[in-house]
């Protein structure tokens, strides 16, 4: 069984947010749900300022608080390390959203059909797309995945359920990289199997010092950062995006 992890190279990231968009389109997430988020940080005082950027997907923690508190077992940890959300079983209690220290959970307050940016109910458009919402709806997300065959892929599945980054489970199971990793123009995101000593992630972690976010909380995240230092209380966010409706 693979042991998946992500390595993010902060020396390369330019904060372009292409990963945010790639994730959005691939996973069909509704308005203001930013599964992948990129922080744009500024530190210091003029003229000794430092500007840097930090992508933040779900950490897919090995000691996940969200998994522990899910009353119905909709949020569970797979053997390959992905922390998945069974959107058929989720009852929308939002305990996982409360428990997660990273804030990666998004609740579908609205009916997804009405929450995809624009009103797609256009006759002329439906003639081209067959009336799907959104028009770029990805059919891969409807299938069940994993040996347990549960529906864990995609966003905007139903009103009243929680969703979050899935490490693109529907792509990973086909041997592809998550959309954010595959697209990063600066090749700052890496994904792979930690149990394989020759994988990119293993080699990077052997060679370079790394950190994980909020390690002191004991969540054992599977997302490692190289080429930088964790944000401190002096780090300010600039150019924030209003996530969540």
């Amino acid at each position: 069984m693979a042991r998946y992890a992500m390595v993010i190279d902060l020396e390369r990231c330019t904060g372009c947010r292409a990963c945010v968009e790639a994730c959005k389109v691939e996973n069909n997430t509704p308005t203001a749900n930013l599964w992948m988020y990129v922080f744009r940080f500024e530190e210091g005082e003029y003229p000794n300022t430092h500007v840097w950027f930090m992508p933040r997907p779900c950490m897919h923690c090995d000691n996940a608080p969200c998994v522990k508190v899910c009353p119905v077992g909709a949020r569970y940890k797979r053997l390959d390390g992905l922390t998945a959300t069974d959107w058929e079983r989720c009852i929308g209690c939002r305990y996982c959203e409360v428990a997660c220290p990273y804030g990666v959970n998004y609740f579908n307050w609205k009916d997804p059909a009405e929450n995809y940016y624009l009103d797609w109910n256009d006759e002329d458009l439906a003639a081209v797309t067959g009336g799907t919402t959104p028009p770029y709806r990805n059919p891969d997300l409807d299938q069940p995945y994993g040996s347990e065959q549960r529906r864990v892929a995609g966003g905007g599945r139903a009103k009243g359920v929680i969703e979050k980054c899935t490490f693109c489970v529907h792509r990973v199971e086909q041997g592809l990289l998550p959309a954010c990793v595959a697209n990063c123009p600066l090749f700052a995101l890496h994904f792979g199997d930690l149990d394989d000593p020759n994988s990119t992630v293993s080699r990077l972690l052997r060679r370079k010092p790394s950190f994980r976010l909020l390690e002191e909380q004991g969540t054992q995240p599977r997302v490692y950062y190289i080429g930088g230092k964790p944000p401190t209380t002096e780090t300010r966010q600039i150019e924030e995006v209003k996530a969540r409706v």
Partner: protein, 862 residues
């Protein structure tokens, strides 16, 4: 009524139970009900290779299509520019492909202009007939009355060029708002068509001069090609010094940040030149053999020349040969030209141009520049020393088996040339690299992608300044002898034609993928002027602000869903060509531009025949013999490209690109790449350190009575002078600059919801100390008021202020992009365009009619 606790409890328990039962039984708790497995229909997946449409550099795309529906756009792995990745706009483009707010069918205006339009939808037939009728009429009356304006060509500019030529229209581009002051400087000084970028594979020391690494473009290419090359260079150890009023644009890639005062880049360049000369780190061999530095300059500022030979108008310039001790023509065999000294030849005192330059630089010391630029003198000296050391003057390296000079220092500069002294600042920066001998050397200063002398090398040196009447953008006039063709100048001329010696007002305007109102400086000026056009036709996928206010006809264009090409896909080191292949049919009734132009030309009577549109298409695409388009029938767009592909030797024709998307031709050989690798080097031209013709233009402009404001910057050597904007009264104490955002740069994207969500609103970046002094908190609404130092006009807009430490305290910044599209739900309330505050008239134009994006403002709480 007497309710006991017991009753209350019983009652609420009962009510609660009923509610839950009701929900359960009505089936709204859908998540407790498993979704039916459902048979998944057979999914036919296809990958259509195509090319990005949304931004500047046409990156390669693979469109994923399932059962005929495009569901995502991913980077094409073989494309040298993006290597399988896309910037956020490229990905978000999927929403532009399906946007229900796109113009669905041609529209004709029913109300007056200058206010948002009331439109009636018509057939293509009716719209094209109307447009063709108007164009036919104006061509018969006077073709000069037909102005064709473009934003950007999304492929080789052949079909638009061909249309302009066939129609005889006057063409205006966007270059004056882009970087054309730099283009003119480079064309004039070195002869290449470009601004400044490094040989990233070898550069060791880079001056990132106003280059927006994390958000924007750079010379020739753009995001993401340049950042990809930059990161590789940095991993190789390249040092980067950022010269910019704001640091955000370079992020953490800056090894050092010089927060320069806006508009003073010329002063810094001159001080660096001065220090290089003082410390002696100059490439004498390059200056002697490949520039006009040794040419002897008389006291009147012109070259000392030999007598004209044969048909020549002027004799060859002379140099002082140190070997023979006399003045000889510069191209004499075996000459050892002097760079310094003072000589007497034929009773006139002469000095080599380099000597003149050296004396000119004497007053431009780092101490002087420190006052002007607000960068400490010791830092300027240190940068000059580091440049000198890193340039490794005299060293060579072998590339592709050829021994070439190795000078691994360079500048990356592009849009920053659009400032008041931009033409001369760009010249000074080029001359800085010339002193180091880094031009076209390995690791050194690049301007174009390959060594290819542009026709402007000769043209800009031989401008014939004519007498009025002039054309609509004052070409070859006493106002702007070197002229980038500015729509702002056209707007001003339309409002005051007699002042500029223009005897006509254009009547018909065609807007080709351009939106002047928010995009060009001085929005109010354009608003005034565009009212005068009698007939305006806009070709655009959305109803742009300009079209909504001024267009008579809107023709919906397709976005990525059309055939367009050929598209250069080179990344500077690997040569390739690509095409835009439609991944689906054009949405609604939109059509590709080439089809639209062919139809208009046909109906207006200039499609067929020797001088028709088809003939010009052949010329622009170089289609000859059996590949040429027959001049008597209208081809499909696909056929045009099929013929082109076969003419290139690609047997399968355009089908090759329909299958593969991009054709990689291979690495660019050093012989083609470096000017030094030519035989003779640089094809024997002499780079213009000393701009003799600029002096000549100055004198002719003075003779013809042009005002000082037009000729004051035509100097043979870059010369500093106080800036016009600094003449504004002291209460306008802040400089306003503008910048691009990666979410929207160089695209029609501010209405695309996926991107607008990331940056929904216009804002003002302000240093926290500056803000607090004015009682402004982060997030407060403020007025930003600009002032025209010459006319006294003030303008103001209201925006939200955002704290930013990494911007100079005397500078505020505003992004572009907002206020582009009318009638789009996501474009509402985005805020004003920064271009309301910038001026586009005298004092705020360069001497080459280029726009400037600087103005003094004051900021106060709203």
């Amino acid at each position: 009524m007497n309710i006991t606790r017991r009753t209350f409890l019983k009652g609420s328990a009962a009510a609660g139970g009923t509610l839950i039962a009701g929900r359960l039984l009505s089936g709204e708790l859908e998540t407790l009900v498993a979704a039916p497995p459902g048979a998944s229909p057979a999914l036919a997946e296809e990958w259509v290779p195509t090319t990005c449409w949304i931004g500047k550099q046409d990156c390669g795309i693979l469109a994923r299509r399932i059962n005929g529906r495009v569901i995502s756009l991913e980077g094409h792995p073989d494309h040298p520019r993006n290597r399988g990745t896309l910037c956020p706009k490229g990905i978000a483009q999927i929403m532009a492909l399906y946007d229900p707010n796109r113009v669905k069918a041609p529209m004709i205006r029913t109300n007056e202009k200058g206010v948002p339009g009331k439109w009636r939808q018509v057939t293509w037939d009716e719209a094209l007939n109307l447009v063709a009728e108007k164009i036919k009429a104006v061509r018969q009356k006077d073709p000069r009355l037909f102005v064709w304006q473009k934003g950007r060509s999304k492929a080789k500019a052949f079909y638009d060029k061909a249309f302009v030529k066939a129609a005889g229209a006057t063409k205006l581009g966007h270059g004056t708002y882009c970087s054309d002051a730099g283009y003119r400087a480079a064309e004039y000084t070195i002869g290449l068509h470009g601004v400044l970028h490094p040989d990233f594979r070898y550069t060791r020391y880079l001056l990132c001069w106003g280059w927006n690494v994390t958000n924007a473009g750079g010379n020739k290419f753009c995001w993401l090609t340049w950042p990809q090359q930059l990161i590789q260079a940095r991993e190789r150890g390249m040092k980067m010094v950022v010269i910019d009023p704001r640091l955000r644009s370079a992020g953490h890639f800056a090894d050092e940040w010089l927060p320069i005062r806006p508009g003073t880049d010329l002063a810094l360049a001159l001080a660096l030149c001065s220090t290089l000369v003082e410390q002696g780190t100059i490439d004498r061999a390059y200056l002697q053999n490949h520039t006009n530095a040794p040419f002897l300059v008389k006291e009147d500022g012109f070259f000392l020349r030999a007598a004209p030979e044969g048909e020549e108008e002027e004799g060859k310039p002379l140099v002082w040969d140190e070997a023979s001790g006399q003045a000889v023509p510069f191209d004499t065999e075996g000459v050892q030209p002097a760079l310094e000294g003072e000589f007497t030849v034929q009773n006139s005192k002469v000095k080599p141009a380099f000597q003149v330059f050296k004396e000119h630089l004497a007053s431009y010391t780092p101490e002087w520049a420190a006052e002007v630029c607000d960068i400490p003198a010791d830092i300027i000296r240190r940068i000059a020393r580091e440049l000198g050391e890193n340039a490794r003057i005299g060293s060579t390296i072998v590339v592709d088996g050829i021994t070439l000079p190795y000078r691994p220092v360079a500048i990356m500069a592009y849009h920053m040339t659009q400032q008041e002294l931009g033409f001369q600042a760009a010249r000074a920066m080029i001359m800085l690299m010339m002193l180091l001998g880094a031009i076209e050397a390995v690791g050194g200063q690049r301007i174009d992608l390959t060594w290819k002398i542009h026709k402007n090398w000769e043209k800009l040196d031989r401008v014939e300044i004519k007498d009025p009447p002039y054309n609509i953008y004052l070409k070859d006039s006493k106002f702007f002898p070197i002229n980038s063709g500015s729509p702002s100048v056209m707007a001003k001329v339309m409002l005051e034609p007699e002042k500029y010696g223009v005897d006509y007002t254009p009547e018909v305007l065609m807007l080709h993928m351009v939106n002047p109102m928010p995009s060009f400086t001085d929005e109010p000026l354009h608003m005034e002027a565009y009212k005068q056009f009698k007939f305006v036709v806009a070709i655009d996928p959305w109803l742009s602000k300009t079209a909504d206010l001024f267009a008579d006809v809107v023709l919906p264009a397709a976005t990525i869903e059309k055939y367009e090409g050929p598209i250069k896909a080179s990344d500077q080191y690997t040569d390739a060509v690509a095409f835009r292949i439609p991944p689906m049919n054009p949405l609604f009734q939109s059509r590709g531009e080439i089809e639209i132009y062919m139809d208009i030309a046909e109906r207006a009577g200039f499609l067929y025949g020797e001088k028709g549109y088809l003939a010009h298409l052949n010329k622009e695409l170089k289609l000859k013999d059996e590949f040429a388009l027959p001049l008597d029938r209208k081809p499909s767009v696909r056929e045009i490209f099929d013929r082109w592909a076969r003419a290139q030797g690609i047997e399968e024709g355009v089908a090759f690109f329909e299958k593969n998307g991009v054709k990689v031709k291979g690495p660019v050989p050093a012989k083609k790449y470096y000017g030094y690798a030519q035989e003779p080097p640089f094809n024997g031209i002499r780079h213009r350190l000393y701009g003799e013709s600029l002096l000549r233009y100055r004198q002719i402009m003075q003779e013809k009575g042009a005002d000082e404001i037009y000729w004051r910057d035509y100097t043979p050597l870059p010369t500093w002078r106080p800036l016009t904007m600094d003449q504004s009264p002291p209460e306008y104490d802040l400089y306003l600059i503008s910048f691009k955002k990666i979410e929207f740069k160089q695209s029609r994207a501010s209405q695309i919801p996926l991107l607008a969500e990331l940056a929904p609103q216009q804002y003002l970046e302000i240093n926290p100390k500056t803000a607090r002094e004015r009682g402004i908190a982060d997030g407060d609404e403020v007025w930003v008021e600009s002032h025209n130092a010459l006319t006294g006009e003030t303008r103001r807009v209201k925006v939200v202020a955002r704290y930013r430490e990494s911007i100079r305290p005397d500078t505020v910044g505003m992004p572009h992009h907002y206020g582009e599209v009318a009638r789009h739900p996501w474009a509402k309330g985005q805020g004003p365009t920064a271009n309301v505050l910038f001026f586009g008239t005298e004092g705020y134009l360069t001497n080459t009619a280029d726009a400037t994006f600087h103005v003094k403002v004051r900021v106060y709480k709203a």
